[in-house]
């Protein structure tokens, strides 16, 4: 493959707990991705950053309500319909279903890093290494 796929990781809520995101970011970097840490961004800022950084995938760290996440996803779809989005964090089973309906895969606490990295490869069209 050519250049490393680029992933933007952002927090949708004003919640600074960083442990989960930090571990996921490390695993993605180890998995060969170029990870851009966006921090706590509003919806419009997430869209702007995704476009400016020309990313291949957006990872949303959810520490708040599903409605905010849905709005971010809708904004991203409007700006770049083909850009894949996945999400992790404290997302209830019913909210996982709501996000699945928008085409967003979810990785709640207890998800394995291996699964998350595999999802990132699949969503960015990378073949898994032999």
């Amino acid at each position: 493959m050519s250049a490393s796929p680029r992933i933007l990781l952002v927090k949708t809520a004003l919640d600074g707990h960083w442990r989960g995101l930090s571990v996921v970011a490390r695993a993605l970097r180890d998995g060969g991705f170029h990870v851009i840490m966006g921090g706590m961004l509003t919806g419009p800022d997430i869209v702007r950053t995704a476009l400016d950084e020309d990313v291949d995938l957006v990872g949303l760290n959810v520490g708040g309500s599903v409605q905010v996440v849905e709005r971010v996803v809708t904004d991203l779809r409007a700006a770049r319909p083909e850009l894949p989005v996945f999400a992790g964090g404290a997302i209830s089973p019913s909210n996982c279903r709501r996000l699945a309906a928008l085409g967003v895969e979810t990785y709640p606490p207890g998800s394995s890093l291996e699964d998350i990295v595999a999802a990132a490869r699949r969503l960015t069209g990378q073949a898994a290494p032999g």
């Binding site: 600074g16 921090g39 890093l113």
Partner: protein, 546 residues
């Protein structure tokens, strides 16, 4: 991720201390053996603060609680008190409180559905009054909130103003603040916070203010919990708590406004976490008390026994609670609570079984209280103090944690002290390394977590979907913000805000001006604007990545 790590050759604790198959007298180092025979209530207090242990006073049942509108939080607090909670804790909305934003701030408006999710919105003393309505704060121990350093003075002043308006003598009021550096600068680094040096000044102001006016109040509470659940291991948590206490006490000493013994007593209400590592964590509490005694006697020459006794509040580790098979967490909560009780905690909060999904539902909250009541009433745990005392294993572990804890405190000192270790990101890097290693050992299957990486079949007939919260917190907060600004005496409010700004810019204690500002119905966001202009913004260490 299957490539990376080999299983440890010998069994180790979660913090990496090697374990022997059995322990004998020779495993307890001589220095510790010399104090092994002391009784509970005797210095150096590793065996507990009081000779009679829980016979003197049962541990306080003290749960984190709050969401939605102030009246929603009020209702939940009353629910918990009715079911047997013996103190109460006010959570504030993270979006507004932690950042000192009003709800009309652009950052909050962009996330309006998040408002009230983790605590009630309290933008003026009116909101705090609603939250406390009908709660007898003159007789019930309350935690005013203000977990984040920059929010502490506001939360405390709001609580105390409500008390004063009820005619309560502040000198008689019991309760606690928090203003925790671990949460603010390590565990939950918000989008904006005042620099550590300004935070230290505010905390010293609170300590001195309480020394003068609220002798029964715990002004600030160092929360090793927030370091631990961010990644610091047991002995790092101990060392970092001591390093934090050194910053507070050195500052109070430097200022010279408050007797150091009185200050030490106030700073000695500390919060740790217990995890599923039952014996290591029980030993951690024993080591903490011994270290506190050592720190105060050797560094500060304090001799007053009341000050030398560290009082401990435990919250069971939220990070141990699994998203998968959440009812297993009732067992985890019980075991972590047992560890805290065996270690001699003074108060306890048990995380909800739905912790990995949301804030606690009413049922999860009730279960957390019930777990504690079962431990208090069905297990005969309260009648014998320090039941682990004399166990070669636990005494050896206590001594080892103490040794490693002081080593870590010395490393922090070599970094320039606790504040410097936060400013540089040194402490965050330590936490991050453990986060990664912890996750890796789970990923590689070296550590099994039931329901997560093993035993995954789930026959639970219920779906636990977490607590949905309320959906009108933002709108109501918005209307109340407009009302308070419309109805207050505007000149008085602006005048009080100016006085507060002057106090912040100068070196006077900010608390009298903060009390006046709250009484004049100055709002949270206005105070935040003053802080931002006076103190500026802390630069979040790179390693946090947010």
């Amino acid at each position: 991720m299957s490539s990376s790590s080999a299983p440890p050759a010998t069994p180790i604790t979660r913090s990496g201390i090697p374990l022997k198959p059995a322990y004998g007298p020779e495993d307890v180092p001589a220095g510790h053996r010399a104090v092994m025979g002391t009784l509970p209530g005797q210095a150096p207090f590793h065996r507990g603060c009081f000779p009679q242990g829980y016979r003197t006073k049962p541990w306080r049942i003290f749960q984190l609680s709050g969401f939605g509108k102030p009246e929603d939080e009020n209702e939940r607090i009353k629910f918990l008190l009715k079911h047997g909670e013996t103190g109460f804790l006010m959570e504030h909305d993270r979006n507004t409180a932690d950042h000192l934003y009003n709800v009309d701030h652009a950052e909050v408006e962009a996330r309006r559905e998040d408002v009230g999710l983790t605590g009630a919105v309290m933008q003026s003393v009116r909101d705090t009054a609603i939250c406390l309505d009908g709660i007898p704060i003159e007789t019930t121990y309350g935690h005013a909130g203000g977990a984040v350093v920059q929010h502490g003075p506001f939360a405390l002043a709001a609580y105390w103003t409500v008390a004063k308006r009820r005619g309560i003598d502040l000198a008689q009021l019991g309760g606690t603040g928090q203003s925790d550096f671990f949460l603010t600068y390590l565990g939950c680094v918000t989008k904006q916070q005042i620099p550590t040096r300004a935070g230290l000044r505010l905390n010293a102001d609170i300590i001195e203010f309480c020394g003068r006016h609220l002798p029964k109040w715990v002004p600030v509470s160092i929360a090793g919990y927030n370091g631990g659940d961010s990644g610091l291991n047991a002995w790092q948590e101990l060392g970092a708590v001591m390093a934090n206490a050194i910053e507070y006490l050195d500052e109070v000493k430097r200022r010279g406004n408050l007797d150091l013994t009185a200050a030490a007593y106030r700073v000695g209400g500390v919060n740790f976490r217990t995890t599923m590592e039952i014996f290591e964590d029980a030993a951690k509490l024993r080591a903490a008390r011994k270290m506190w005694h050592h720190l105060l006697t050797t560094r500060y020459g304090i001799t007053d026994e009341r000050a030398l006794r560290m009082r401990i509040h435990i919250v069971t580790a939220g990070s141990m609670m699994t998203y998968q098979q959440p009812f297993n967490n009732i067992v985890r909560g019980t075991l972590m609570a047992l560890s805290a009780v065996l270690g001699g905690t003074q108060s306890l909060g048990v995380s909800g079984y739905d912790e990995a999904i949301s804030i606690p539902s009413e049922h999860a909250h009730q279960m957390s209280v019930r777990i504690q009541q079962i431990l208090q009433h069905e297990c005969n745990l309260q009648n014998v103090a320090d039941p682990l005392g004399g166990s070669y294993y636990v005494e050896a572990m206590t001594a080892e944690l103490e040794r490693r804890g002081w080593e870590f405190a010395a490393e922090i000192a070599a970094e320039g002290g606790f504040l410097a270790a936060l400013d540089s990101g040194w402490l965050h890097a330590k936490a991050r390394d453990n986060q990664v290693a912890d996750m890796q050992s789970e990923e590689d299957g070296h550590r099994l977590v039931v329901g997560v990486n093993e035993f995954r079949d789930d026959a639970t007939p219920y779906v636990v979907d977490g607590f949905p919260g309320v959906n009108d917190a933002y709108e109501v907060a918005r209307a109340r913000l407009e009302a308070v600004k419309r109805e207050r005496h505007e000149q008085g409010a602006l005048h009080a805000l100016k006085d507060l700004e002057r106090a912040c810019r100068g070196s006077d204690n900010v608390m009298p001006a903060m009390m006046a500002a709250l009484d004049a119905e100055v709002t949270l966001g206005e105070i935040g604007d003053v802080y931002r202009s006076v103190f500026g913004d802390w630069r979040t260490p790179e390693v946090v990545g947010t």
